[in-house]
């Protein structure tokens, strides 16, 4: 924690002097930058990203060993290829599919958990460490601080997704051949377009995390304990995922933030099937609006004692 505080202490005067010179946009940017630096310098963040980067490598090695005897079909006997994460059957033929498989494997749990840790820590962690009031002493304003915190969390979503994708691409390129690929509709696209789609998919996955980031931030404003906020966020994530599996709750499913997460795979269809992707984005935007404003309402009125 001392490391965090020193970096914060370094960042503050700089931000304050910027505020004196050009208040407004530039100041906000300064605050955002100092938040980013603080967040990404934490060992916790680096460890989370390290774990995320390891997942695709593990999947790649496992598939490589499994198919090392020359058989190239991913599916077991009886056409059991539908099991396991999506796209896993195609990895051996094209390393680029490792990107999709890795994202499909990490999206249900690893990625949102990492985001939940960062988002839950955003306000509650500062309050816990006793740094929140110093942040508010500077003429930042609570709204701006909250927006900065949310922007930092969103940046983490994108970075985390790109880390998974990049690590998967590297592992896929090393372990398996690359080349033209077949979409799940059976049409062929060039490797360049495949890369472009992979980037789109990574962005779609990052956007899928908007909802839980907003939820985590709201929970973070409710408590002064960073651990409690993280645990609650991750707990909610698991609860929602379980509820999403219960058929009797069918009518509620479209409103769970995780319901359309796998829609990113629709980007691999030809023609792309946009309906679920749009629904996903709309739902994430709704969660961001509801819990973002709830977090704002709570944070504006919160007694900051630490």
């Amino acid at each position: 924690m001392s490391r965090v505080e020193t970096s914060r202490a370094e960042a503050m005067p700089e931000a304050a002097s910027q505020a004196a010179r050009a208040p407004g946009l530039l100041w906000t940017f300064g605050l955002f930058r100092s938040e980013l630096v603080t967040t990404f310098r934490r060992w916790r963040t680096i460890a989370l990203l390290g774990v995320l980067a390891a997942v695709p490598i593990l999947v790649g090695i496992a598939v490589k060993i499994e198919t090392g005897d020359g058989s190239s079909t991913g599916g077991g006997p009886g056409g059991g290829g539908g099991e396991g994460p999506a796209f896993i059957a195609q990895i051996t033929n094209n390393g680029l599919f490792l990107v999709f498989t890795a994202l499909a494997a990490t999206l249900p749990f690893f990625l949102p958990m990492a985001v939940g840790v960062i988002a839950g820590d955003a306000i509650a962690g500062e309050a816990n460490a006793g740094t929140l009031r110093y942040l508010l002493v500077a003429p930042a304003g609570r709204t701006r601080l909250l927006l900065t915190k949310y922007a930092t969390t969103m940046t983490f979503c994108v970075v985390a997704t790109l880390v998974v994708a990049a690590s998967a691409l590297a592992a896929g390129a090393l372990l398996f051949p690359l080349g033209d690929l077949t979409t799940i509709s059976g049409t062929r696209i060039s490797f360049a377009e495949g890369l472009f789609r992979a980037l789109l998919i990574a962005l779609a996955v990052a956007a899928s995390l908007i909802g839980i980031a907003a939820l985590g931030l709201f929970i973070s404003t409710l408590t002064n304990s960073g651990i409690a906020a993280m645990a609650t966020t991750v707990g909610l994530l698991i609860t929602v995922q379980i509820l999403d599996q219960i058929p009797q709750l069918d009518a509620l499913h479209p409103y769970f933030f995780s319901h359309y997460w796998l829609s990113f795979a629709d980007l691999m269809r030809e023609p792309v099937y946009w309906d679920d992707l749009q629904r996903n984005l709309g739902l994430q935007a709704l969660y961001a609006a509801v819990f973002g404003s709830a977090a704002w309402a709570r944070f504006m009125a919160k007694d900051v004692t630490a």
Partner: protein, 450 residues
Amino acid sequence: MAPYESDDSARADDAAVLAAEAEEVRSARRRKAARYLVPVTVVGVAAATIGLVPAFAGSGDPDLPKISAQELIEKIAASDVQQVSGTVKITTDLGLPDLGGLADSLGSQMPSGGSGGDSGSAAAPSAKLLELASGTHTLQVATDGPDKQKLSLLDEAAEYSIIHNGDDLWAYDSASNEVYHATDAGEGEDSKGGEDRKDAPDASEDVPATPQELAEEALKAVDDTTSVTVDGTMQVAGRDAYRLVIEPKQSGSTVGAISIAVDSETGLPLKFTLTPASGGAAVVDAGFTKVDFGKPSASTFDFTPPKGAKVTEADEMEESGHHDSRFDELDKGLGSKDAENSKASKDAAGSEEDFASGLDGLKTIGKGWSTIAEFDTGAEGGMPGGGSDSTGDARVDGFLNSLGDQVKGDFGSGTVFKTRLINVLFTDDGKVYAGAVTKDALVKAANAAE
């Protein structure tokens, strides 16, 4: 603050201060509450949007010139849409338990089951199309003239595509990365297969039109037993459409009404809904959610098996003698969905009875909507699989027993298997009566046959 001083003027001041403080606290509280109004408003607006938008969208029935049922049917018949692509949503609710599991268990039973055994291919069309018989499915369809069609069944992070391009017919299952391939040329050897194959392009000519096939199927049944009316207009996939309603006049049928939305410009049926006489949700509801009459890009119909995919040739299956039924089902799948569905439900209820005994003893009783098919399986005991071929049938037997209703009548006794559309009566002396009719009508038919 000194609220208890006895000076009168001070007391008045204090009261003012107190009032001001109280006011401040109240206003702070109000501001606090007002802030929480923001998320509440967002939720409210979102709920209102979700709740009201479909209602508004549905209320605006398009204003179209009046048209008679005859004219509308002619419009459908004259419809010559060569190029179309779009998204089709199919919801089937036959009132059966989850068919997925049943299909699996039947798949391992049926000699021709696509997923059965090691020699089968997960990409073979029969098993996949059986999935359509329950639940909601989204399909993407594209067609460009009689030679090029594509039909994809969208799955979670996977897709099952059937692509017909010239002489080639490909089926690709992306989940298992398996390919099924058939060519026109490879068909000629087998006479029956060849015949089927000749029909296939004709049938698939209308793939654009999954709903079109359905409509034609339904219109075949039009005679004095049926009433056909045009019932207003509606919007389907953003297009103005007439609503054609077909209702059986006879009693005893389980079919309540069939409603077909016909595109007012092209005459292409856009939506097909079959509601049961018993009420409730539609048994079959198939319609475009998006439709585009432009030319689909040529690359849509190009297919090269992906590297490393397991390719099963239809010829190989032919050698093992199972290929015909696959094609039957494929043609049905490409063509008429309701035939597929009724087939599926018969499969479900009748197990492999159909396959085992063939249709040797098939007779039909009655006509029109309340037609009942009767066949004699010759198997004592009445239960499917209970006779000749009982190996490994225990699961199916148990499953069917749990589904059936025991009935008695002049014919003796038997078991009725009910779905929301098709009912099947197995008598204990080995006769089977099946039809889209009520249980009572089946019993009556069985009594009359005795």
